[in-house]
């Protein structure tokens, strides 16, 4: 069952990849710019592949649930994978409303990155600690992830808007920030590539080091240690010796991973720039030239409108109900709770700004991008960096 489950996920991943190419083809192939856009054969194949991929991933989810005996949303791998699945699901729904293959070309790569990122975490089925043994686990987590996924669609739409709208003929603050967004995506890819390369090479380096309390502890690096732990002593022979040593307060292993990701992100980014000979956003611009900006703006706004109630329900209301049952209080200012509140407040501000003149279009697109950054921060940084009640997921 476990093997079947991981195979289904693998199939889904491959199908999403192929579907992305077909969505790309759908845009290239479309020559006629009619008001009534009919989806061409490429687009049809692309969406069919996406749907099959989605079904396969649902299969992964169900079989893993059966194997584990609990909903597979209990650790960072499972949650992030589910988020990727929800993203694809939300995209499929929005696609059938607006029929824009371009949205697929931007959403699927994000979903693929999310799933690839997820698989860098320990993938085995983990038993549930007492606090997680509740039906609210799947009710709360799936609804929250679904809400975030729908909100993330607005990011994809906002990105399309910006790629088309931002003037690429001269460099400006806008082109810079847009490149930073793409750099972020490339860095995620960099992390995935580096982590899977070293994992394929089975790289391991053991250290003993002295922690904050002055106790000697052991740790194991899975990437060559550019930065070593506090008073670290390398035990594995032939392993790379750290260049710098960190103070005890810093988690050297995580910092090392971050440095590797950024380094590989920078390398990748400059390789891309070298090949493309222009900004990433500029080279994507021809792909989006036929899209109607108003339509993209509306997709972005509507995804926020659809996603906001789902997010509120899952990440705040269900969360509060469960927190009352498991942790004795519905609200405790735990970092994850606070960041859910921040995300909620941010999108509330977004919705209010849509009432004001001048906040449609470009500004709204930037807000959609910032919203996604907040969601990602909550997913990645709050779990891995800021310790709290939710950090079991690490």
């Amino acid at each position: 069952m476990v093997t079947l489950s991981s195979n289904l996920l693998y199939i889904a991943f491959i199908l999403y990849l192929i579907a992305t190419l077909f969505f790309g083809g759908a845009i290239k192939a479309k020559k006629s710019v009619g008001e009534k856009q009919s989806t061409n054969a490429w687009g049809k194949i692309a969406i069919i592949l996406t749907v099959i991929g989605f079904i396969s991933q649902v299969g992964y989810f169900i079989t893993r649930w059966i194997a584990a005996g609990h909903a597979p949303v209990s650790n960072l791998f499972e949650f992030t994978t589910f988020f990727g699945m929800a993203l694809v699901g939300a995209f499929i729904v929005i696609y059938f409303i607006y029929k824009t293959p371009l949205l697929g070309l931007f959403t699927l790569p994000v979903a693929i990155l999310v799933i690839a990122y997820a698989s860098m975490f320990p993938r085995e089925i983990s038993p549930l600690i007492p606090a997680l043994q509740s039906d609210w686990l799947h009710i709360h987590v799936t609804t929250a992830a679904l809400g975030e996924a729908i909100l993330a669609i607005s990011f994809a739409a906002g990105l399309i808007y910006l790629v088309k709208f931002v003037d690429q003929t001269k460099s400006s603050k806008r082109t810079l920030w847009l490149e930073i967004v793409f750099f972020g995506l490339v860095t995620t890819l960099g992390f995935v590539i580096t982590a899977s390369t070293f994992s394929a090479l089975d790289y391991q380096a053991e250290f003993t080091w002295v922690d904050k309390a002055g106790k000697e502890v052991a740790t194991e690096y899975t990437m060559p240690a550019l930065v070593g732990p506090h008073k670290g002593e390398l035990l594995t022979e032939g392993a790379f010796k750290p260049l710098i040593e960190t103070p005890a307060i810093i988690n050297a292993k995580k910092l090392n991973t971050v440095i590797w990701s950024f380094a590989s992100g920078i390398v990748l980014y400059f390789l891309l720039r070298l090949i493309l000979r222009k900004r990433i956003a500029a080279s994507l611009q021809p792909l989006v030239k036929n899209i109607n900006l108003d339509l993209v703006d509306e997709i972005s706004y509507r995804s926020v409108l659809i996603g906001f109630p789902v997010f509120t329900l899952g990440a705040l209301i269900f969360a509060m109900i469960w927190a009352q049952i498991a942790w004795t209080r519905f609200w405790g200012w735990d970092p994850k709770e606070v960041w859910a509140l921040i995300t909620w407040l941010f999108y509330a501000a977004f919705l209010h700004l849509r009432l004001s003149k001048g906040w449609h279009g470009e500004k709204s697109a930037w807000l959609a991008v910032i919203g996604f950054v907040i969601i990602m921060f909550n997913l990645v940084a709050v779990n891995l960096v800021i310790a709290g009640l939710h950090s079991y997921a690490g």
């Binding site: 069952m1 476990v2 194997a67 584990a68 005996g69 409303i97 607006y98 320990p122 085995e124 089925i125 983990s126 038993p127 600690i129 007492p130 606090a131 043994q133 509740s134 904050k212 307060i249 108003d294 339509l295 509306e298 706004y301 509507r302 409108l305 659809i306 906001f308 109630p309 509120t312 329900l313 209301i317 509060m320 009352q324 049952i325 498991a326 004795t328 209080r329 519905f330 405790g332 200012w333 735990d334 970092p335 606070v338 960041w339 509140l341 921040i342 407040l345 941010f346 509330a348 501000a349 209010h352 700004l353 009432l355 004001s356 003149k357 709050v382 800021i386 310790a387 709290g388």
Partner: protein, 540 residues
């Protein structure tokens, strides 16, 4: 204030932008604008009309959405600051907060503490921010909902030309005859529009209730915030921790001595590779031990009849219940939660009295470490008095023996051994792993002979009478937010004007949807598809 009479005969309140009934612009300067600003139906909002008194100014300040958005943005930024370092309630209580932050995080931690960020969410300025958002919610809503309600209620079917022309979706088509109008009307009804007709003019409207969504959800938020404030009323909220040992019966705090709890047993289970799901094996290999269950088997007891203080109460068994994480014991308005535990606390300690020179045993005593007896009679004229007892023994700053707490973490005893040779007794001091013999010439010694332990369970005692208000507020919020987000208020006007048919349409959101709907509507009729004028406007 002056009311404004429109040429259609409707009397509008002062400050109206365009007539509530027919939509004709009331102000000259608005005539030049290409598209109407349809927000709040151009109704007369207090904030846009009056700005003289202090009340006006305060009202206008809080009624601004811009101010509301700023309040939200400031609150969310402040909330983020509170997650940089753990809040005071999450730091271990091994040292006071004033030292902890500096000790753990250096100068940054010190600064964080000095700025009061360690208790950010209960700081006065954070509460002011939340309160301001609350005020903004009330005033923003009142400023808009009442005039909006009136304007929508008073709208007429036939609209002024200028109103129709300035709608975002607008088009002119050849004139329709009565049958064709009837046909369109049927189509609109089929699409669940509420259609009104007046002199061959149509107003089709649906989803007006979605306009109230934002105000409904704001009411929900206000109820929620009100519920949160209720906690400050005494008696509404109880947050106590009850540490209870196995076998112990304790009164449950805050129940006025009415309820008692007996802890029969505390259980801690860990996952076992032999017994539990094989799928967990790999994870267990990697992380080691994982806890499966924390459980206190308890008996809830109720006092029967009145007792005078000090008298042992009669207790009646109410129910037996296994309290687990996620499964609190509930009774009346209380809930008891499994929150913490301590395994193997010392409960009894036994000693052997022996004669020093011959090691001859003269009897055993067992001391209950929670409620020790004072005297132990042994046979043959021997007895032991417990002169002093230090459950959590340490030396204080004067090197005098003292106890750090009443928990028997490190018990120490001063015994007085009475023997036939020494009827006055001889003193000896005994602590774990150290027998400090005060008198060289003692004939007897107390030697350690064994311990008994038991588990202690910590239960949170919770009463929260604010929950219902808060849940109700949350429910209203959800209803409002769904109402506003998943439905749209759409209106389509079809009017016969000077031998042509005009179509104009407005929706509060989802223009794509209404345009598609109009497309289906005019399909197979003489009507031409109306234009989206906002696109032209942008180009100009």
């Amino acid at each position: 204030m002056k009311e404004v009479k429109c040429e259609c005969g409707h009397v509008n309140p002062h400050g109206t932008v365009f007539c509530e009934a027919c939509g004709k612009l009331t102000k000259e300067q608005e005539e030049n604008k290409n598209l109407l600003d349809m927000r709040y139906e151009g109704s007369a909002r207090r904030s846009q009309t009056y700005n003289k008194s202090v009340i006006d100014k305060v009202w206008n300040f809080f009624s601004s959405v811009k101010v509301g958005v700023w309040l939200i943005v400031i609150t969310l930024s402040a909330s983020a600051v509170g997650t940089i370092l753990p809040q005071e309630m999450y730091i271990p209580n091994t040292m006071p907060a004033s030292e902890y932050y500096a000790d753990q995080y250096g100068w940054m931690g010190k600064l964080y503490y000095q700025l009061g960020f360690h208790n950010l969410y209960s700081s006065w300025w954070y509460l002011i921010l939340i309160a301001s958002i609350g005020i903004s919610l009330v005033i923003c809503s009142l400023d808009r909902v009442i005039p909006l309600y009136k304007a929508l209620k008073r709208q007429r079917v036939t609209r002024h030309e200028g109103f129709l022309k300035r709608q975002r979706v607008f088009g002119e088509s050849p004139s329709l005859n009565q049958d064709e109008i009837e046909d369109i009307k049927q189509k609109l009804v089929k699409k669940r529009y509420n259609v009104r007709e007046e002199n061959g003019n149509l107003l089709a409207e649906k989803g007006r209730f979605s306009r109230w969504g934002p105000y409904v959800n704001h009411v929900g938020l206000i109820i929620f915030l009100f519920g949160a404030m209720l906690r400050f009323i005494p008696g509404m909220y109880v947050d106590k921790v009850l540490w209870i040992r196995e076998g112990e019966t304790k009164v449950i705090p805050e129940t006025n001595g009415e309820y008692y709890l007996k802890n029969e047993e505390f259980i801690l289970d860990i996952y076992d590779k032999e017994k539990d799901n094989e799928a967990f094996d790999k994870a267990l290999d990697r992380v080691g031990m994982v806890v499966k269950n924390y459980q206190s088997n308890v008996v809830l007891l109720q006092k029967e009849g009145d007792t005078i203080p000090g008298e042992k109460p009669e207790l009646k068994k109410i129910k037996e219940y296994p309290i687990q994480v996620n499964k609190p014991l509930k009774f009346e308005n209380f809930a008891l939660y499994q929150v913490d535990y301590k395994l193997d606390e010392l409960s009894k300690m036994s000693f052997k009295l022996t004669k020093k020179d011959s090691d001859q045993s003269l009897g055993d005593i067992t001391i209950n470490l929670i409620e020790p007896e004072k005297e132990f009679n042994l046979k043959n004229g021997y007895s032991v008095e417990l002169k002093s007892y230090f459950p959590d023994f340490a030396f204080d700053e004067n090197q005098e023996p003292t106890t750090k707490s009443r928990v028997p973490n490190n018990p120490a005893f001063v015994f007085n051994v009475i023997s036939p040779e020494n009827p006055e007794g001889e003193m000896s001091f005994v602590a774990i792993q150290q027998t400090i013999d005060p008198g060289e010439d003692n004939l007897y010694k107390m030697s350690f002979n064994g311990i008994e332990t038991r588990n202690v369970s910590a239960l949170t005692v919770r009463k929260d009478l604010t929950l219902w208000t808060i849940a109700f507020g949350g429910l209203i919020f959800m209803i409002g937010v769904i109402q506003g987000a998943y439905w749209n208020h759409r209106r389509i006007w079809i009017q016969q004007i000077g031998g042509t048919t005009w179509i104009a349409a407005h929706t509060n959101k989802n223009w794509h949807g209404i345009k598609r709907e109009i497309g289906q509507l005019i399909d197979g009729t003489k009507l031409t598809e109306p234009m989206d004028q906002s696109i032209n406007e942008e180009k100009e």
